[in-house]
């Protein structure tokens, strides 16, 4: 005989509609002609569920006596004897009354299945064995009825009956789940929105687990709150050429593939005179990068690959995007390009070499020899030492030329050296050339004497021309270099200005840009010796620690750590410093403006508040005084009734005055931090009735549901009573006459939550914080709400006792105030 199939309806909480859904399915099957019998269904008196039973065949239950009470259970033997095709058995996790054949209902179900009967059943997520402790932690309720996960997992089908917490709470408030007197308490306890959300998530996850075991591993790997530990950072290197657009878009796509990756574009401004960047192109690309959500950076460096990698490492980049070299094949023979060099030095950073339409087209004439690097000076000296003796040798053994031609050839050599190596090699070449000419080519040959005056003049002219030419060459080279440097500086400054204008905190952005541009460790701005802003690591706090110091004005000073500044860089840093001073002033001004706004607001508030307080103080004072003055009057005789009324007037007014003064004093004590709080262990069930007594006749309209097993709380009894009085008075004020406020208590972890629930108009969620501001009511329009101290004071007092006071919507309309206080452990 084939074993029956088990179908389980899983729900996150009571009331989501498991039984109802199960019965729907039972009807569907019955209509198809299947023999369906209801072995056990618990309707909990819910009318929709009751109606759903309809004409289904309901098997009688078995009545069991236990400890003097009668219980009804599923009659297992009767079901087995009836042997329907499908048995409907509610509450899979139910524990049978002792003395039954099986301890648990799920064991009964196993027997049915073994007998070849298909079973439809229901279970709540809190009854699953594996989730038992989690559920207990969330809800604070220990579950005794559990069912092993394996049994549920073995079911042929598990169907989730899902409902959003809000809908469930609404359904509850409408009385569809529990009887009316249990509703408010349940909403405050098990059916808290937070509870239901957590339970629903548990149910969904448990089911997802069932569907896909992979998910479990995924969650274990990532942890439930996993954030990306390391962010991907993609750095795109821009040369200033037009291919940069392609590179930026490509890098943005790479960044988009990794969720949350950062995009950073960097342009290395070369300070060796080889700058080929077009500022207009760069500024356009900057806008492009920023529009794609990236940031633009600029660094100065002679060695592009090294500067690029330094930047990339400094920002913890994981990937670099570079364009394929656009240099010609010939140029690539002589030196490896930036891409190749960067790749070889990149270490753990991935380098993407991206091809673009301008690759390998060559760049048009831009690499003119300009600056005199050390290498070129050495080459100049080498050329002098090797070239002049060679020239001498060639002229000596070769066909004999006139002295004039010899001199011109030597002059050409000197000019060549000066073009190659600048002034100093040229000077050496001129002196050496003149000596060689003298020794080898002017009679008497082989001696350093000159016989003819003409020759002496020629040699002198040779030296002068050689020196002049080499000086001109050197000066030109120096100018070119200066121009290149100035160009780089100008680019940097342009970037500075742009960055400062754009940023939200201009000063920090500016200092950061400075640090980045000069590859510094830290930059600090001091005002009269006090640090006002700093970026980078190991900030200097005193002038002595800094590698460089720039004075801005009499008060401001900028300290740089990382490397000493050369004179040219200093100029730029000074410009930065001046900008920083402006930025600082700007930040201060906007801070002042921001501070002035609330001040003006406070001032307006204070005036209105003064009016409100003086009204609230004067009004009861006026009534009391009027009443007392009338009683003292000799000219009129009041009868006993009037005297009584006048005395009551005085009494009520003075009471009101007393409450107001007490609230005002407490509020000021609270704000001054001078409130005396004596926390002891108290029971909320003692405090609440006392507080309601204080409210006078109105207090009797408040319904109290406090379970017996609520632990003691750690609180000041006097203050707690005041809070409850305020909350209850508020709830009474806004409750409709036919729907009284309710006070409930529940346990959540280590806190006890006291809920004051009203069914009044409620407060929109965006105003929840405002109601806790003191002096909400301004002016003297309304005599009933007081100065608006009640809630502000209640929250202040609660927090002084280490608790919290938060509002929540009452399902079905109204406001619920949740007063959470630490429970006394061990009770």
């Amino acid at each position: 005989m084939a074993r029956g199939e088990l179908r389980i309806y899983l729900g996150a909480a009571p009331g989501v509609g498991k039984t109802y859904t199960m019965l729907e399915e039972a009807h569907r099957r019955a209509e198809r002609g299947t023999d369906v019998a209801v072995a056990f269904v618990e309707t909990h008196g819910r009318k929709h569920t009751q109606a759903m039973l309809g004409d289904l065949d309901i098997l009688p239950r078995r009545t069991v006596g236990y400890r003097g009470a009668e219980f009804t259970e599923m009659d297992l033997d009767a079901v087995l004897a009836r042997k329907p095709e499908i048995a409907v058995v509610d509450e899979f996790a139910h524990t049978n009354v002792p003395g039954s054949r099986n301890a648990k209902r799920w064991q009964d179900v196993q027997e049915l299945l073994d007998a070849g009967i298909d079973v439809l059943t229901t279970v709540n997520v809190q009854h699953l064995e594996s989730l038992n402790d989690v559920v207990a932690r969330i809800t604070g309720v220990e579950q005794r009825e559990t069912v092993p996960d394996a049994v549920v997992r073995a079911a042929e089908q598990v169907e989730l009956v899902d409902m959003t917490p809000e809908a469930l709470r609404r359904r509850m408030a409408h009385g569809n789940i529990y009887r009316p007197e249990k509703i408010d308490a349940a909403l405050g306890n098990y059916f808290r929105a937070g509870n239901l959300t957590a339970l629903r998530e548990l149910a969904l996850l448990w089911l997802a687990d069932q569907v896909e075991d992979q998910l479990d591993k995924y969650r274990a790997d990532h942890g439930i709150n996993a954030t990306w530990e390391t962010r991907e950072r993609v750095v795109v290197a821009l040369t200033g050429g037009r291919e940069g657009d392609t590179l930026i878009r490509r890098a943005a796509r790479i960044a988009a593939r990794d969720k949350g990756a950062d995009l950073m574009a960097v342009h290395v401004t070369r300070n060796d005179g080889l700058a080929g960047a077009d500022p207009a192109t760069l500024s356009r690309q900057r806008v492009l990068v920023e529009s794609l959500g990236g940031t633009y950076h600029q660094v100065v460096g002679a060695d592009v690959p090294r500067a690029l990698l330094d930047f990339a490492r400094a920002v913890n980049a994981t990937q670099i995007v570079l364009g394929v070299s656009s240099r010609g094949k010939l140029a690539q023979l002589f030196s490896a390009g930036v891409g190749v060099t960067t790749t070889s030095m990149s270490g753990s950073i991935d380098v993407h070499l991206v091809t673009h339409e301008r690759a390998a087209q060559g760049r048009r004439a831009q690499r003119l020899p300009a600056a005199l690097s050390r290498r070129r000076r050495i080459a100049g000296f080498a050329a002098t030492v090797a070239g002049l003796p060679a020239l001498t040798a060639v002229l000596h053994v070769g066909p004999s030329l006139s002295l004039t031609n010899d001199i011109l050839l030597f002059l050409a050599a000197v000019v060549g050296v000066s073009l190659l190596g600048g002034l100093w090699p040229a000077l050496l070449a001129a002196v050496a050339g003149s000596l060689l000419l003298n020794y080898f080519f002017t009679p008497p040959i082989g001696r350093f004497t000159i016989a003819e005056g003409d020759n002496l003049l020629a040699l002198a002219i040779f030296v002068v021309v050689a020196l002049a030419v080499s000086w001109v060459v050197d000066t030109a080279a120096r100018k070119t270099r200066q121009a290149a440097q100035a160009g780089a500086d100008a680019q940097t400054l342009a970037t500075v200005a742009g960055g400062v204008l754009r940023g939200e905190r201009p000063l920090i952005a500016l200092l950061d840009r400075l640090r980045e541009t000069f590859a510094l460790q830290s930059v600090t701005l001091l005002e009269d010796g006090v640090v006002v802003a700093t970026v980078g690591d190991r900030a200097c706090t005193v002038a002595g620690e800094a590698d460089a110091e720039v004075k801005v004005d009499d008060h401001l000073k900028m300290l740089l750590r990382g490397r000493p500044l050369e004179a040219s860089a200093r100029r730029i840093v000074e410009a930065f410093a001046a900008q920083a001073a402006v930025a600082l002033r700007q930040e201060r001004l906007s801070a002042e403006a921001a501070a002035a706004k609330p001040l003006a607001e406070t001032d307006r508030m204070r005036t209105a508040l003064l009016a409100a307080v003086s009204h609230d103080l004067r009004t009861p004072l006026a009534s009391a005084k009027a009443a007392v003055a009338s009683l003292r009057s000799d000219e009129i005789h009041f009868d006993d009734h009037d005297r009584g009324e006048l005395l009551a007037t005085a009494d009520e007014s003075l009471d009101r005055l007393d409450r107001l003064v007490a609230n005002l004093l407490d509020m000021s004590r609270l704000q001054a931090g001078a409130l005396g709080v004596t926390r002891i262990s108290v029971g909320v069930e003692d405090i609440v009735p006392r507080a309601l007594d204080d409210l006078g006749p109105g207090g009797r309209d408040v319904t109290v549901h406090i379970p017996d097993d609520i632990p003691l709380v750690h609180a000041d009894p006097g203050l707690l009573e005041r809070i409850v009085v305020n909350l209850a008075a508020n709830a009474l004020r806004y409750s409709p006459p036919e729907h009284h406020p309710v006070i409930t208590a529940s346990v959540l972890g280590n806190t006890v939550e006291l809920r004051v629930i009203d069914h009044g108009p409620g407060i929109p969620e965006d105003r929840w914080n405002d109601v806790f501001l003191p002096f909400q009511r301004l002016g003297d329009r309304d005599n009933h709400t007081g100065v608006g101290l009640g809630l502000a004071l209640s929250r202040g007092l609660t927090e002084a006792m280490g608790g919290t006071l938060t509002p929540e919507d009452t399902p079905g309309g109204g406001l619920t105030m949740i007063l959470a206080l630490p429970a006394v452990s061990g009770t």
Binding site: H615, R618, A622, K625, A626, S630, S633, L646, N783
Partner: protein, 148 residues
């Protein structure tokens, strides 16, 4: 007998005044807010109004203007607002006197006597205007046309 309308949203004040005035043989009407004050005035035609400025529905000055639209009966403002701007505002709106809370009962009574003495004797013309056939009752804000 002089009829006084006491307008205040504070029940204790109203009660103290009612007892005092009644003991001195005034007829007393009371109203807890501006609109019922205007209604009561139109209905009972009091000889004097004692008015609080901070009412839950209307500003006291608006109540004064509402009354002054059709009657010149004395109005004494009885308010917790002690600022001179409030006093000027209320008096300019048409109040006859201004007493600040807390107040001496004797002083208030003396001021009530003073303004009633100055006020027109009982021959005050009814607040009714006639335009052609139409009879306009300014207090009740109603227009009656015979034959319609």
């Amino acid at each position: 007998m002089t009829r006084v309308l006491v307008v205040d949203d504070e029940p204790q004040i109203v009660r103290a005044l009612r007892i005092n005035l009644a003991a001195r043989d005034y007829d007393v009407d009371t109203a807890p807010d501006g609109l019922s004050a205007l209604r009561s005035a139109a209905h009972h035609h009091p000889d004097l109004v004692v008015l609080d400025l901070g009412l839950p529905d209307l500003e006291g000055a608006d109540v004064i203007r509402g009354l002054r639209g059709w009657t010149a009966i004395p109005i004494i403002v009885l308010s917790g607002r002690a600022d001179s701007r409030d006093k000027v505002g209320a008096l300019d709106a048409g109040a006859d006197d201004y007493v600040t809370k807390p107040f001496g009962v004797d002083e208030l009574l003396a001021r009530i006597r003073a303004v009633t003495r100055r006020a027109q004797p009982a021959g005050e013309p009814p607040p009714v205007a006639t335009i052609g056939r139409h009879r306009i009752d300014l207090a009740a804000r109603s227009v009656a046309t015979p034959g319609t």
